[in-house]
C-alpha cells in the first residue's frame, strides 16, 4: 500500500518550529565551544609568561661560573650558586637513599605478601594520608625531630624533610608498578617450584623495575624543586658545604632569599637559579617518562 507521506516532496524539508530552535542550538553550541577553547588557551598565557621571563632574565647570567662560585654578599656583583647546586643534589640524593628502599620494600609487602591483610590496608591508608600532608609540615617535622634534637640546622635535617615528602609517593607508585606485572608471570614462576622470595626477586621486581624507576624519578624531580621543607631545616649558607651537619644552601632557598632582596644583581641571580632549577626538574621529569616508561611488548 502506498504511504502518501513518503511521496511528498516536502518530506525532508523541516519547517517545524523545532528547526529554528535547531539553529539557536547550534549557535549556542558554537559559542560554548569558543568559550571552552578560549579558556583552555588562557592557561597558556601565564605559562608562556613564566617560561619567557625565566629564560629572558635568567639566561644573561648563565655561564659555568655560576656552578663554580659562591653567592655574592648583599649588594655585591658577580658570584654564582655552585654551593646551592651541590646542596640540592646532595640533600635530594640523601633523601632518596633514605626514602626509596623502605618505600619499595613496603610496596612489595602490600602487593606480594599480603595484599588484603590489615597491615597492608593500614599502610595504604597511611601513605595516602601522607601524600596529603603539605610539604611545609615535612619541614616542621624535621625541625622538631632533627633540628631541635641536634641543636643545629643541617643538610641532614633538610634531607629528612625531603625523605618524608618522597616516601609516600614512591610507595604508591611502586605499588602501581608491581600491580602492573601480569599474573601469568607469577604463576609461571610458582608453577616451576619457586619460593615467594625467588618469584619476587627474579621475576616480579625485574619486570616492575622500569615503572618503579619512573616513580622514583618523578619524586626526585618534585623534591628538587621544594623549598618549604628546607627553609628552616637546612636554612642557607654562603659557603661550600663541608659537612652534612651544617646549614646548607639549596637552589630553591636561594631563589626564595634572593628574589626579595632589594639588589638588582641578586634578583638576576634568582632568575638564573630559577632557570637552572626548571631545567633540572624538567630534565628529570622527561627522563622519567621517556626512558623508563618503555614497557616491553
Amino acid at each position: 500500500m502506498d504511504n502518501p507521506i513518503t511521496h511528498s516532496p516536502d518530506f525532508f524539508e523541516d519547517n517545524s518550529p523545532e528547526s529554528t530552535k535547531m539553529l539557536g542550538r547550534s549557535l549556542f553550541d558554537r559559542a560554548l565551544t569558543a568559550l571552552c577553547v578560549g579558556l583552555s588557551f588562557l592557561a597558556l598565557v601565564p605559562l608562556a609568561s613564566i617560561l619567557y621571563l625565566v629564560v629572558k632574565n635568567g639566561l644573561p647570567l648563565l655561564d659555568w661560573s655560576v656552578f663554580t662560585q659562591l653567592p655574592p654578599a648583599a649588594g655585591m656583583n658577580g658570584g654564582g650558586f655552585g654551593n646551592a647546586v651541590i646542596g640540592t643534589l646532595t640533600m635530594v640524593g640523601l633523601a632518596l637513599l633514605m626514602a626509596a628502599p623502605p618505600a619499595v620494600l613496603a610496596a612489595v609487602y602490600i602487593c606480594e605478601y599480603d595484599p588484603k591483610g590489615k597491615l597492608s590496608n593500614a599502610v595504604r591508608f597511611a601513605a595516602k594520608l601522607l601524600t596529603g600532608v603539605p610539604s611545609i609540615i615535612c619541614g616542621v617535622f624535621a625541625f622538631a625531630a632533627v633540628v631541635l634534637a641536634t641543636g643545629k640546622f643541617s643538610a641532614f635535617a633538610g634531607a629528612v624533610a625531603l625523605a618524608v615528602l618522597m616516601l609516600p609517593t614512591i610507595l604508591l607508585t611502586s605499588e602501581q608498578a608491581l600491580l602492573g606485572v601480569q599474573r601469568a608471570y607469577r604463576e609461571a614462576s610458582y608453577g616451576l617450584g619457586a619460593t615467594r622470595f625467588q618469584t619476587i626477586s627474579r621475576v616480579v621486581l625485574p619486570d616492575a623495575a622500569p615503572a618503579i624507576m619512573t616513580g622514583i624519578m618523578l619524586a626526585v624531580a618534585r623534591a628538587a624543586g621544594e623549598t618549604a621543607p628546607l627553609v628552616f631545616t637546612a636554612l642557607f649558607s654562603q659557603f661550600w658545604m663541608s659537612s652534612l651537619m651544617e646549614p646548607t644552601a639549596s637552589l630553591s632557598v636561594l631563589i626564595y632569599n634572593f628574589s626579595t632582596m632589594p639588589f638588582e644583581h641578586q634578583v638576576k641571580m634568582a632568575w638564573t637559579a630559577s632557570l637552572v632549577l626548571v631545567l633540572l626538574v624538567t630534565a628529570t621529569n622527561v627522563t622519567a617518562q621517556l626512558v623508563f616508561s618503555k614497557r616491553h611488548a
Binding site: S40, L105, T227, V281
Partner: protein, 317 residues
C-alpha cells in the same frame, strides 16, 4: 627404582628454603611507613603542648599574633588560608573544567589536545618558588594597578578598600589559582573519561548536540568526580607555602580587603620558624597542627568522594 617410588622420595626430600627473611624486611618497612606518619603527629604534637596548655581553643579565635609579647592567635591566618584557597578555587575552576572537557572531547585535532595537555603538565612541574618569583614581577604590579583603580572607583566597598599594596591576598590567590589548575584538570578529566561511552552514545542517538550531551549527561555523571577534584584542589591550595609567602605580604593583622597584605597558616610557618624561640616555637607547632588537621580533613573528604564516584560509574557499563 621405579618411577613412582622415586617420585615419592622426591616429594619429601628436604628443600633448602628456610624462613623468608625478605618477608620480615618488607614487613618491617611497612610498619616503618605507618610509624613515620605517627611520628610526625607525635613530634609536632609534643612540641605544641606548651602552647596548647597556654591557649587552648582560644588560639583559633584570637586575632593577635605578637611574638614579643607571647600572645598568639591564628584567626587572621585561618581567615587568610580560607580566603586565598577559596578565591583561588573560584578563579581556577572554570578554566580547569573547560580544559578537562576540551581534552576529553574532540573539538580540535589530536596534536592540539596533546599540546594543551603538555602545557598543563608543565604548569604542574614548575616549582612553587619560581611561581613566587614570577608573581613578584608580573602579578604584583598588575594587582596593584587593579587595586588602585578599585579603590578609586569603589571607595566604600570594604572588600576592595585601599591602600592597594602589591603584596596582597588577591595576588597570592591569583598565583595559587594557577598552581592548582593542573590538579583540577587532571582529576576532572579522569572523571570525564570514566563516563561510560554508552551514555554518551545514547545521548547522541537521541539527537543531542555535543554540548547538550555534555551538560545533560556527561557532566552530571562526572559531577561527583569533579566535586572530588575541587575538594582535593582546595586541600592543595591550603597547603601551598612558598608562592603564597612571597606574595601575600605576611601581615599578622586581620583585614577584609582583597588588596591588603594578609597571611596564611603555611606562610606563617615559613616565615617565622627560622627565628623563633621559646613559646613562639610551640605556638607555631600548634599552628602546624591546625594546618595538618585542616588539610587532612579536606583530603579525606576528597578521597571519600572519589571512591564514591568510582563505585557509581563502575555499575554502569
Amino acid at each position: 627404582m621405579s618411577a613412582p617410588a622415586a617420585a615419592k622420595d622426591a616429594l619429601t626430600a628436604p628443600v633448602r628454603t628456610g624462613p623468608d627473611y625478605f618477608l620480615w624486611l618488607c614487613g618491617a618497612a611497612s610498619v616503618g611507613a605507618i610509624f613515620v606518619l605517627g611520628w610526625i603527629f607525635f613530634e609536632i604534637f609534643q612540641e605544641a603542648i606548651p602552647a596548647l596548655k597556654e591557649f587552648g581553643a582560644k588560639f583559633l579565635t584570637n586575632a593577635t599574633w605578637q611574638p614579643n609579647r607571647d600572645r598568639f592567635g591564628v584567626l587572621p591566618f585561618l581567615v587568610g588560608t580560607a580566603a586565598t584557597s577559596l578565591i583561588a578555587l573560584l578563579i581556577a575552576l572554570p578554566p580547569g573544567l573547560a580544559i578537562a572537557i576540551f581534552l576529553n572531547e574532540d573539538f580540535l585535532p589530536k596534536p592540539a589536545r596533546q599540546f594543551i595537555r603538555f602545557v598543563v603538565e608543565l604548569l604542574a612541574a614548575i616549582p612553587s618558588v619560581v611561581y613566587g618569583l614570577w608573581g613578584i614581577f608580573v602579578v604584583i604590579p598588575l594587582i596593584q594597578q587593579l587595586g588602585s583603580w578599585c579603590a578609586e572607583r569603589f571607595p566604600n566597598v570594604p572588600l576592595l578598600a585601599g591602600p592597594a599594596y602589591g603584596n596582597s591576598l588577591l595576588t597570592a590567590s591569583v598565583v595559587l589559582a594557577l598552581m592548582i589548575l593542573p590538579t583540577i584538570t587532571a582529576i576532572s578529566r579522569s572523571s570525564l573519561v570514566a563516563v561510560p561511552r554508552t551514555l554518551r552514545e545514547g545521548s547522541y542517538a537521541l539527537g543531542a548536540t555535543r554540548w547538550e550531551a555534555i551538560f545533560g549527561v556527561i557532566l552530571p555523571t562526572a559531577a561527583p568526580g569533579i566535586v572530588a577534584a575541587t575538594i582535593l584542589a582546595l586541600g592543595r591550595a591550603m597547603g601551598e607555602t612558598m608562592a603564597v609567602a612571597m606574595l601575600i605580604g605576611n601581615s599578622p593583622r586581620l583585614s577584609w580587603s582583597l588588596f591588603s597584605p594578609s597571611g596564611t597558616l603555611a606562610s606563617l610557618l615559613a616565615n617565622q620558624f627560622g627565628e623563633a624561640s621559646g613559646l613562639q616555637v610551640s605556638a607555631l607547632m600548634y599552628a602546624a597542627l591546625v594546618l595538618v588537621a585542616l588539610t587532612l580533613a579536606v583530603n579525606f573528604a576528597g578521597e571519600a568522594v572519589l571512591r564514591y564516584t568510582e563505585k557509581r560509574t563502575a555499575g554502569i557499563r
